[in-house]
Subunit: 342 residues, 4 copies
């Protein structure tokens, strides 16, 4: 049985990645694609890589008949989902790929995003979309909030360690290397090819990146006390991928064992042998996350490295994984595409 | 029903691409993977992107029990397949991805490859693996010779035009832009990242590239007279993709109409609207070939641009497409993966 | 003695490249830098690579006291130089890097640029800035029009051949590979890193690129009859560089000999041995142009390949070379920077 | 007056970078270029970017008449300089770009490089070549040991802070992003373009990289007690550049003030305003090092970011800077080339 879905914000990279994944997903059918500024155009004009597919023409959100839609993927810019989701028919399930419903606390939202939330009641009931850790709630949810792509990458490395109290909670330093597609398709001078192609540059340094709000929420809940990590993302000239180098204080062997145990049955999280760290290029285009642990020359210190494709496992792949659960489909359906290398 | 296949030469890029494709192919099962120099190692050590798969350990060719294998993919360096295929049990079907069986004429082989062919009888009966043009023979073949990746790209642009006598056969100039993965995984100084990443360079210029032997064979047969094209490939700093700019003398409209008619029912060849040319990045990681036609300001001249992924449609995707036919499976099975962009 | 110069349009790439070159030029002193939208900011905020230099703050053009300026470099978008140059004091020499004064014929300008020229009298007297071929006129000129970067690249390959009637004038096909910086710093979706970094794509295909107006003007004048070439530029994921593959009918040996003879005494044009073609990466960041000739397997056909750095020899380096002549300085002063590789 | 120099190991990237720098250096003259395996070939065949220069043919070291040489640059693989330098005439000054003379302690050398040093007496007297900190000794030295490129990058960030006891010496975490050219020109599968161009990967993780020996030596000497940092380099798909993100405990304001004060008069080290961090692309092709400081959201923590071009300031530029001092030339001579961007 196929389920009708709509993708709102189909002209951005995560929207296109949803289409790419669903193209070979046997359980989902794309019934509507919205892109307000590009409404009326065929998807192939906006993403020629999807030219072989028979897709609905891009439309405005208003033009969608939601009575025909079972689940909506919202791939809209931050701030736009709130009112929209509030006004959708209650029978429509929602996977939101933006930031609007990631934080349960309205004050935290206001602090990090600089505006009052306009659908506070929804915000409080939305389920945080890190599938491997919220699987049961997601299955029953009407609204799932996709995680930040950085937030997902680091949590795969650290959640089991924080939960098991294996690392010093006051000395977690996460240094990230981020592919450029994470910046989206909007026009910014410093995202031009000529600016980025031979540069590596930190951004939102000083632990001021908005994804920290997710770490604060999740890690503090796990630890039962406030946890604040340091976080430094860097743009690298690669399209897809996030590699998180998490410098922690703890025993490498114990850390590795905890990760192996935690992810032993997870289809999408792979733990490398102790002493090996993954490269960003080995998960490109897939829903896999690879994690590795290397002990430091100084005992009691370790490096935990995790990597995933920001557009896929960090966003659209995760969204489909959650949609599978919400629709009663097998969790891995349509998501076993092997990473593309080279 | 699943068919057991073996991949010989699994430690190269086309070998790994075969594994990647077959990973989500419902009709094929990888029963053996050979890589002489890396025998004994797990595939994940050689291609960490395939780490999530349950694959046979790399072995030598001698260690394979071919009685359990229905079809063999040979992804070996040029020259090594001849003796090997000759000695395989006759019941085993073969898709050879190398150059050994592309030329039907032993003299042509000797001229272009500088050595006598050691399995001339096989050479003469092998079917040229350009699926869209040899479909019926491939269905019944025991041995199919995968085309050169450049050869495939250009033929998709030009075969229908030569066949229909729509272009001047004496003035065909093909200027190619080639992704680096086409050079394979062997160690050459000029394939180092530092050498290639900010360079664009012609190679095998003067129409001396070995793939010309395929054009000479195929185009002359089509035209019923000798046809020699000029051919200039250039390395560009991209991993995957070939973009062929074919400068021809002929009427753009007629050319476009002929291509559209010819490929109307082909699942993997997409013709763009007249006046549009495809970009290399819109077929990455897929078995699709996109073709476009643009008329020149000077009447009677046109540019025909075709593009495909050299590792996929130009090699391993084509190989699986042929294997599907040879094994009685649906031709598109496992091959509808949408191109990855960005 | 140092000469005071001003750079108008200093916030674009060619403006920055002028500053970079002049930074170690002993004969020029930057007295003013304009950038209308970024006026008031230091150059280091716009180009951090120039942070070590002591430069004037960016200002508007109106704020410049031209009585202190001996020569002005105009690195403005097309169309903006005309009125500006017309209104400059006559004592100020001008090197215009844009397209406004490249065409001597007002009708040709109107045809290719879609607007009437507003300083026709200047247009007719401006000297075309291809230094190696207009050296004497440039020395005495008040206004020199920098060439298009593509136009420069191809002319280095073809001018001596057209002049000496060594090639068939009706069958010249120029297939270019163009670095992205040629598109400038303005915001366009298809110039984002994510769009370009794994793509190669033709643009302005069908010989409709505006630089054709320069070829038509120059080649026709050289040949004494109308000459129209076919011209197909392609964007490749490299920052700097143009590689022109010129497919011509003529004798490779004679062509090579003519180029060698013509450029024997030119400090910036290097002809490779017959049979070798240059790579784009060997002239990066320099004022050099490398040219090579390879004969085709079909007698009477040849490939002439030329390459230069579009921002340097194709634009700002050429501009400084011309300024040197106009100011009575040694032509090579400040321009002998060796290409950067890797 | 020009000084005759020889470059040993001219076929590697640091050798070529020496030639590139010296090409426009008014005080140095290249009298000999050695490259054992490529002896007899012109430099232009090995580095076509240097084709315009009139250079000596590559020779073997034995063929060099050292009586004509005032200073030798050794750009040889690690381990080869020791015996060589020992046997050079005492009148020849030496700048060694390799690792052989960086460590003063023979035991430390043996521990990190796995072999006994064969010129211990020279090792003990060699001056460590970090110009900004060893200027006076370098002026009088006969043998100067160029620093590791990573070692230079991090020391520019941390030396003044360790010396002034502004940071916690037990909690220094250096996370580096390294351009690929640092791996040199030797053939390794994982340095192929296809392997590296879409990957980011840590290497020598766990603080086992050999450059740590330099940190241990230098930082411990500065602090007057053993200092061990954690160090994690990562390969990023850029040719040139190292960006060091140093996560430290200390007051950002005080750290910034100390760096500004220390580098106020240094021509090649630029400190950005507090709160700004440099990008790798702003020093490409130059002898400049840019340093920035950003405070963390958690008081008492800061990120110090430094960046330089590994082939230039991290190696060949530093070598020329040292040679200038050793030969009595102005320290900045030939080294003011502005960084290339984009």
């Amino acid at each position: 049985m196929t389920h009708n879905v709509a993708i709102l914000g189909a002209s951005g990279y995560t929207g296109a990645e949803l289409v790419r994944i669903i193209a070979t997903h046997p359980g989902l059918r794309i019934a509507a694609l919205s892109a307000d500024r590009k409404a009326g155009r065929p998807m192939s004009a906006v993403f020629p890589n999807l030219r072989h597919l028979d897709l609905p023409t891009l439309c405005t959100i208003d033009e969608i008949d939601f009575s025909q839609i079972e689940l909506v993927f919202c791939a809209l810019p931050h701030g736009l989902s709130q009112a929209l989701v509030r006004d959708l028919p209650m029978g429509v399930k929602v996977v939101d790929l933006g930031a609007d419903f990631r934080l349960r606390d309205p004050k935290a939202y206001e602090k990090w995003y600089g505006a009052k939330h306009c659908a506070v009641e929804l915000q409080e009931t939305a389920v945080y979309g890190l599938t491997e850790f919220y699987r049961d709630q997601i299955r029953d949810a009407r609204l799932v909030a996709g995680t930040g792509c950085n937030a997902a990458t680091v949590q795969f490395a650290l959640r089991p360690l924080i939960e098991a109290a294996l690392i010093d909670l006051d000395d977690i330093i996460c240094d990230l290397k981020n592919g450029i597609s994470g910046a989206g398709r909007s026009l910014k001078e410093n995202m031009l090819f000529a600016e980025r192609s031979t540069d590596v540059m930190g951004y939102s340094l000083g632990s001021v990146h908005r994804h920290l709000s997710e770490f604060d929420q999740e890690f503090s809940a796990l630890a039962g006390r406030p946890v604040e990590i340091s976080f430094a993302p860097h743009l690298v000239p690669v399209n897809r991928g996030i590699l998180a180098s998490c410098h922690v204080k703890g025993d490498a062997k114990a850390i590795h064992a905890a990760l192996e145990a935690r992810y032993a049955d997870e289809p999408f999280v792979v733990v490398l042998p102790l002493g090996q760290a993954p490269g960003m290029g080995q998960v490109t285009g897939s829903n896999f996350c690879h994690v590795g642990v290397v002990g430091d020359r100084r005992p009691g210190r370790a490096l935990v490295v995790s990597t995933l494709d920001n557009l896929n496992k960090g966003s659209s792949g995760q969204a489909v994984q959650n949609a599978n659960l919400m629709l009663g489909l097998p969790e891995t359906q349509g998501l076993m595409l092997a990473p593309v290398f080279p």
